[in-house]
Amino acid sequence: MNQILTYSVYGAAILTMLIGIFAILTKKNLIKIVIGMSIMDSGFNLLLIALGYIKGGTAPIFSPAVEGKDVIMVDPVPQALVLTAIVIGFGVTAVALSLVIRLYRKHNTIKIDEIKTLRW
């Protein structure tokens, strides 16, 4: 059972990440590329949270309900890291989209192959 869980949760997270990377690499539309970036980040966030999960654990909050009892808590460190990663991801997305808007204003298109200066 645990084996199945391990592979399904991590697998789902990695699959989501790969879908995002695939979208970034193959799509020609700039907004679609940014959507790919956001999918990729989502997959990563799940991966990290899944890593912190502990079987039979509770949320890492010492509320009055758990006070004095001997409980196992899930690892709080990945949660703190994901919190940071989500916020940073949002900042990057916002900057990326404002760049897309500016590119559209200049070239009147958001297709990557129609903007000559964007090719490499």
């Binding site: 990440m17 990377i21 970034i24 700039l30 590329i33 970036m37 990729m40 980040d41 990563f44 991966l47 990290l48 890593l51 460190v77 990945p78 890291l81 940071t84 990663a85 940073i88 900042g91 990057v92 900057v95 990326a96 760049l99 897309v100 500016r102 590119l103 200049k106 903007i115 200066t117 964007l118 490499w120």
Partner: protein, 500 residues
């Protein structure tokens, strides 16, 4: 309190939050205050460098928790040297762009805030002792770099910035994955403890995460073929920012790469160093060959900069103390000389929109001082005596010869010839061609002249008296090579536990 490494980060952030309010009081404060902060950091670097020694690093706790539990800043002879280099260079670049008249007030405010945070982020990458914290600082650095690349509206800045952002987002996801793998197997994020626990990580996980780190930080360090962002970013960003990409951003990237491969992973003898060496060789050869074919001055300098980064990777890829010493020397020279070249070139191509090398005919007479300084930089970067570039290249050649790598040695020499060809082509245009009659030139302002001359003085002084800096470099090289010492200084309790 007065000289505390934490101020490298806290002070710029404090100022960045304060500047929008100060702008309402008196507008010139927006330009002056960031400069004062950078000046303070530069002075603080000098003070801290005198306190630090190979056996007594300055370790700063944050939030009162000791090393493996809390984040800490580690100012050793090695990281301190790079941090000081960055902070002093940042002050000079501020001085150069102090009278930034080309843009409106609103933009000038953002420019100085972004530049200050770029500096703070880079120093954070260098000083932090925590791997996730390093990621946060990498993100701060890259976000400010994206915004600064797209700073001018008239150029193709947005395209360059978008490319940069796209590659940067790959870099950050790979960095995060690498960090996650390490956390999964060791349960810690502190670099020293990671280095200590590394033997218990299974080999395949170690290799996967090392490759992730290598690619992610290779993007930041302009390694081929991950450096597609660099030529565009260098040529579209404002002049002083191009200089700080070479002197500050790339230095933070290569530092992180070295820290990860030398301290955290003990893959050095299992192919880690060879990988660095080979990638460095490829980067150097390809970039220099491409540089020779560039028509655009900025792009030429950008490719030359990547070639130098390749040289640095080769030096660190040797894995010997001499190699580290040579690599650090090249890092220092590259930071100073490339900044001078970029700063001087900004005036040479000020009014030409295409920044072509062929537009530079006869500038030696039109802009004598700037051309002279550019020429000095070109002589120094190709490694001609009596400039500082000579000594660093010599030490690298000696280090390669000691390792009996004749092929590497020959390649470096051959590439130097290429370098000489394309730099001298520019100098030939500057001095031995007739100027176009109706060409507009921009005379450099006094502050940029002061900046460029100071950098030139550093180049000549180190060229004539390499002893000025070799002591620092030797200390830094010894500190980096001493991995056990690093672990022991940062987490003494845990280190002694494992010994017993």
């Amino acid at each position: 309190m007065v000289a505390n490494p934490i101020l490298y980060i806290a002070l710029p952030l404090f100022t960045a939050f304060l500047v929008p309010l100060l702008a309402k009081l008196w507008k010139p404060l927006v330009r002056i205050i960031p400069g004062l902060v950078l000046a303070y950091l530069a002075v603080m670097s000098v003070v801290l460098m005198q306190q630090v020694g190979p056996d007594k690093p300055i370790i700063t706790m944050i939030a009162g928790w000791k090393a493996p539990w809390g984040i800490n800043l580690v100012f050793t002879s090695f990281s301190g040297f790079i941090a000081s280099l960055i902070s002093i260079l940042a002050f000079f670049i501020w001085l150069y762009s102090f009278k930034f008249k080309k843009v409106e007030f609103d933009d000038a405010q953002k420019y100085f805030i972004l530049f200050m945070l770029l500096t703070a982020g880079s120093i954070g990458v260098v000083l932090t002792g925590d791997i996730f914290n390093m990621f946060v600082f990498v993100e701060i650095t890259s976000l400010s770099a994206y915004a600064l690349t797209a700073f001018y509206k008239g150029r193709d800045g947005a395209e360059a910035a978008f490319k940069f952002l796209l590659i940067g987002s790959f870099s950050s996801i790979m960095l995060l994955l690498g960090i996650t793998i390490l956390y999964a197997y060791t349960g810690t994020l502190n670099m020293a403890q990671l280095a200590m626990l590394m033997p218990q990580v299974p080999m395949h996980a170690k290799i996967v995460s090392f490759l992730l780190f290598f690619v992610a930080l290779g993007i930041e360090a302009e390694m081929f073929p991950l450096n597609g962002w660099a030529p565009d970013a260098y040529s579209q960003a404002p002049g002083p920012i191009a200089a700080s990409f070479a002197g500050i951003l790339a230095k933070a990237g290569i530092y992180a790469l070295i820290r990860v491969s030398y301290t955290i992973f003990d893959l050095g003898n299992d192919g880690g160093f060879e990988l660095l060496l080979v990638m460095g060789l490829i980067t150097m050869v390809v970039s220099e060959l491409v540089a020779m074919r560039q028509e655009n001055l900025r792009r030429m300098l950008a490719y030359s900069s990547m070639g130098q980064m390749g040289l640095i990777m080769i030096a660190f890829g040797l894995g010997t103390k001499e190699g580290i010493y040579a690599g650090l020397f090249i890092m220092f020279n590259h930071a100073v000389i490339k900044s001078l070249l970029f700063l001087a070139s900004a005036y040479l191509v000020y009014y030409t929109s295409r920044k072509k090398i062929s537009d530079l005919d006869g500038f030696g007479k039109l802009l004598p001082l700037t051309s002279l300084l550019f020429g000095l930089g070109a002589f120094a970067i190709v490694g001609l005596p009596p400039f500082s570039g000579f000594w660093s290249k010599l030490s690298l050649l000696i280090a390669t010869a000691d390792n009996h790598m004749e092929f590497v040695l020959a390649t470096i020499l051959a590439v130097s010839v290429i370098e000489i060809i394309y730099y001298f082509r520019v100098l030939g245009r500057l001095y031995f061609r007739k100027a176009n009659t109706e060409i507009k030139v921009r005379k450099p302002t006094w502050n940029s002249v002061v900046t460029m001359i100071s950098l030139a003085i550093v180049i000549i002084a180190v060229g004539l008296h390499p002893d000025l800096i070799t002591g620092l470099l030797h200390n830094a090289a010894n500190t980096l090579a001493d991995k056990a010492g690093y672990i022991q200084k940062i987490i003494p309790d845990l280190f002694s536990q494992t010994l017993n």
